[in-house]
């Protein structure tokens, strides 16, 4: 069968792919979006069902059919991860995410240079591959602004063109204007944390989130139902790709979304260009589609996996991999956590958007002096629920009881009965450094439902720099918790090396084709009509959540394609 042809194929229609699909289709290009999961609707999210969405992870990839394996080091055997923290439907992770949505700090974009300037090269762990980004915050600022206003983000500015504003994040990079929407209501735990952090001389603020605090662009505001992280929004107030960019893309008439399809290879020819992709349909049918431009925008595992699976005689190490860097520098936020109980009041943390509700950035990035601390880079610290969501299954399975209280029996039941409504948690989202031996590759033993090798992660966060940072953050959280008036403050156990949330890396961007996979536009150094978009391109990861930066980079790349590449196809940098 002759294969069909289109201008652009986008693999993965999530946080990045959805924006590129809409912007390129609006620009007049014919776009085919290939999405592994289904396209759900807001009406699908009415069941507020903690078992289905949180506990059984209904909006995430199935760990049996779509396994991802993990091992702590290259000599260990890899086993499938029990939970996969990314999306599996049109809109990707923006359907179920907690919607924390903010820009990176200025020094996040030049963490290596900044560290050397303020401290010394010796401050960077010898084995870390920490690198500057090939673009600056100032260059990306217009795209951040566009993402916030286009999608709808609620927050309060803390740095307006250099003017610091109390109540916002005074450590944020300068922004040209206020957020498009005021902050969401601050819940009881957020108010307690705000007062406590101020008492300690810190600068708390309501976490900016891509959740509408009031009606915006025809969409309704948040109802504070609390079924947020892990759930789709039942009123469409979460600014997911499903309710923002997909309708725009549909309206162009240039966008063809195909769901339930698994792309297994990017095709290339002897001229060194990619020609399109091949995929399995929902019925297993093997289909090839040709395209002038191929954009890879799935979750990071599949960027690396697809490039490796697409090796040819010409590209023997995989596509876009002349540098040998594909799959390296895997990063993840670790989420050390404390819990708190209160005696004289309820805090009802199950109400309202559940993830990282109220935050201090006083220990993030390089906002504080790291001299003598034994680590570089920091963490955001936020008050929230037990496991970023607020229901009782999450509490019973995600909160270890305090010392002296057993995990079962009468004493445990009494503890839960008394403190479910009178407890809160705090989490530090740490900026772990990149290391070249933290990798993604193809698992030689485990295959997925399509018979493809599973992505295999080799990763252990427990390195001296990262352990020292976690201990420091635990102590800061305990201080804040005690200042909040908690009767008990205790720690959650640390993870056994397994990567945490928000994975980054594998196809890092840079200025040198010998040490990076893509340029500042996500364009492959080796293959100019192949773009790779998403947090897989991050050279370092910031303590902030990645999605808004993924989205800003998507607008940035869409502009570069429409304004420059389409006129003169070829290298953009």
């Amino acid at each position: 069968m002759a294969s069909e042809k289109t201008d652009v194929v986008i693999v993965g229609v999530g946080a990045a792919g959805g924006i590129l699909a809409a912007e390129l289709a609006k620009g007049g290009l014919k776009v085919v979006g290939l999405e592994r999961g289904p396209r759900l609707q807001t009406a699908d999210f009415m069941p507020h069902d903690e078992l289905r969405y949180f506990q059984r992870q209904d909006l995430r990839p199935n760990v049996k059919r779509q396994p991802v394996t993990w091992r702590a080091n290259a000599t260990a055997r890899a086993n499938p991860l029990p939970v996969l923290n990314y999306g599996n439907q049109a809109g990707g992770g923006t359907i179920h995410y907690g919607a924390v949505s903010w820009r990176f700090h200025e020094d996040d974009f030049r963490a290596r240079s900044h560290t050397i300037e303020r401290y010394s090269a010796a401050a960077i762990p010898e084995d870390s591959s920490l690198a500057d980004w090939p673009l600056s915050y100032a260059e990306l600022e217009p795209s951040y602004d566009r993402a916030e206003y286009d999608l709808g983000v609620s927050g309060k500015a803390g740095n307006m063109q250099g003017r610091k504003i109390d109540g916002g994040n005074v450590f944020e990079a300068p922004r040209r204007r206020e957020y498009p929407l005021p902050p969401l209501i601050v819940d009881q735990a957020g108010q307690l944390m705000d007062a406590a952090a101020r008492k300690l001389g810190q600068h708390p603020f309501p976490t900016p989130r891509a959740i509408l605090s009031q009606a915006y662009k025809g969409r309704t505001g948040c109802t504070y139902c609390g079924f947020c992280q892990g759930f789709g929004c039942h009123v469409g107030a979460k600014s997911s790709i499903l309710v923002t960019k997909l309708p725009e893309a549909d309206a162009t008439g240039n966008f063809d979304l195909r769901t339930g399809v698994m792309v297994y290879r990017v095709n290339s020819d002897n001229s060194g260009r990619v020609t399109g992709v091949s995929y399995y349909g929902p019925d297993g049918a093997d289909t090839t589609i040709e395209a002038d431009l191929v954009i890879l925008a799935p979750f990071i595992y599949d960027n690396t996996r697809l490039l490796l699976l697409s090796a040819t005689d010409r590209f023997q190490k995989g596509l876009a991999n002349s540098s040998g860097e594909v799959g390296k520098h895997l990063m993840a936020h670790m989420m050390p956590r404390i819990f708190m109980t209160f005696e004289d009041r309820y805090v009802n943390t199950y109400m309202g958007p559940s993830a990282q509700k109220h935050t201090v950035d006083d220990y993030d990035a390089d906002t504080f002096d790291h001299s003598g601390k034994g680590f570089i880079r920091g963490a955001q610290i936020s008050v929230d629920t037990d496991n970023l969501q607020g229901g009782p299954i999450g509490t019973a399975t995600g909160m270890n009881p305090p010392p002296g209280v057993p995990r079962w029996g009468s004493a445990y039941s009494e503890f839960l009965a008394k403190y479910f409504g009178r407890h809160a948690a705090m989490v530090a989202q740490t900026e772990n450094l990149p290391y070249a031996d933290q990798t993604i590759d193809l698992d030689p033993n485990v295959r997925d439902q399509w018979g493809l090798p599973a992505p295999r992660l080799t990763y252990d966060w427990r390195r001296p720099n990262e352990l020292a940072r976690v201990e420091f953050m635990m102590q800061r959280m305990e201080e804040i918790g005690r200042a909040m008036g908690a009767s008990r403050v205790w720690r959650a156990p640390l993870s056994p090396g397994i990567p945490g949330a928000h994975h980054e890396g594998g196809t890092r961007m840079g200025t040198d084709p010998h040490t990076s996979v893509v340029n500042r536009y996500g364009q492959s150094w080796d293959i100019p009509n192949l773009f790779i978009i998403g947090s897989s391109t991050f050279p370092s990861m910031s303590g902030h959540n990645p999605t808004l930066t993924i989205q800003a980079l998507s607008y940035w790349t869409a502009d570069a394609i429409l304004n420059r590449y389409v006129r003169t196809p070829g290298p953009l940098a």
């Binding site: 807001t42 009406a43 009415m46 069941p47 507020h48 069902d49 903690e50 078992l51 506990q55 059984r56 209501i185 819940d187 009881q188 509408l212 009031q214 009606a215 309704t220 505001g221 948040c222 109802t223 504070y224 139902c225 609390g226 079924f227 039942h234 009123v235 107030a237 009041r345 309820y346 805090v347 009802n348 199950y350 109400m351 309202g352 229901g391 009782p392 299954i393 509490t395 019973a396 399975t397 995990r407 079962w408 029996g409 009468s410 445990y412 039941s413 009494e414 839960l416 009965a417 479910f420 409504g421």
Partner: protein, 227 residues
């Protein structure tokens, strides 16, 4: 066949032995009180039906063992609903017949090892032990000290039963547990509320503005958001 009809059939098969729905809640509590001394045989175990539904997966003996075990994890007391009140057994039974079917063998082996351990240590099956001895057995599993287990390990079996107990306590009743919102009443969770108002968000009290809502009570989608 729907979950309801499966459990209904199982329920009807045992109907002759079941006094009625009204007795279910108390059935779980009284024997525990009687067993407080620790050595009294567990009266509810074999001789008396508890009324909790099962039959989609478990046979009668395994059902009794699971029901007794999960009641030790989340014991009922006056004013404090427990696993039996919440019909956690029914939740696990349905889960193993459906979404957790791959864990059937895990349960079969785990339950056999549990009773082997009880017999070798105390000369009786788990359900025949008094509450204090049952608690000692549970603790031996939790700490991994219980012998007789290979696969699953004692700790893995304990952890799975604990997780499934919490699911059965706190998942929506549509899944067969959390009967009459027993779990949500225990902790004061109001269920699937579609809206919390600014007043709710600022309150330092327990939420009581609206009744507990489950999936089968959820109404049409609210169109107006909070400001």
């Amino acid at each position: 066949m729907s979950k309801d009809s499966v459990t209904r059939r199982a329920f009807l098969m045992r109907a002759a032995a079941v006094a009625g729905a009204g007795s279910i809640a108390t059935a779980g509590v009284v024997p525990e009180a009687g067993a407080a001394g620790g050595q009294t045989p567990h009266k509810a175990a074999m001789a008396e039906p508890t009324g909790a539904k099962h039959g989609a997966f478990f046979n009668a003996g395994d059902a009794a063992t699971v029901e007794a075990f999960v009641e030790r994890l989340m014991p009922g007391a006056p004013g404090r609903p427990g696993a039996r009140d919440a019909a956690v057994l029914n939740y696990i039974d349905l889960a193993l017949a459906g979404p957790y079917a791959e864990q059937q063998y895990f349960y079969r082996r785990g339950l056999a090892a549990l009773n082997a351990y009880c017999r070798s240590t105390y000369g009786e099956a788990f359900v025949r032990l008094g509450a204090a001895r049952q608690d000692a057995v549970v603790a031996a599993l939790e700490s991994g000290k219980a012998s007789s287990f290979t696969w699953p390990t004692a700790q893995a079996f304990f952890n799975t039963l604990r997780t499934h107990t919490m699911e059965g306590m706190f998942a929506d009743p549509i899944y067969g547990g959390n009967k009459n919102f027993a779990g949500w009443r225990l902790v004061g969770f109001p269920g699937a509320q579609p809206v919390f108002t600014p007043g709710d968000m600022q309150s330092k009290q327990q939420f009581t503005r609206a009744p507990i809502i489950g999936l089968q009570q959820q109404g049409p989608m609210p169109r107006k958001g909070g400001k």
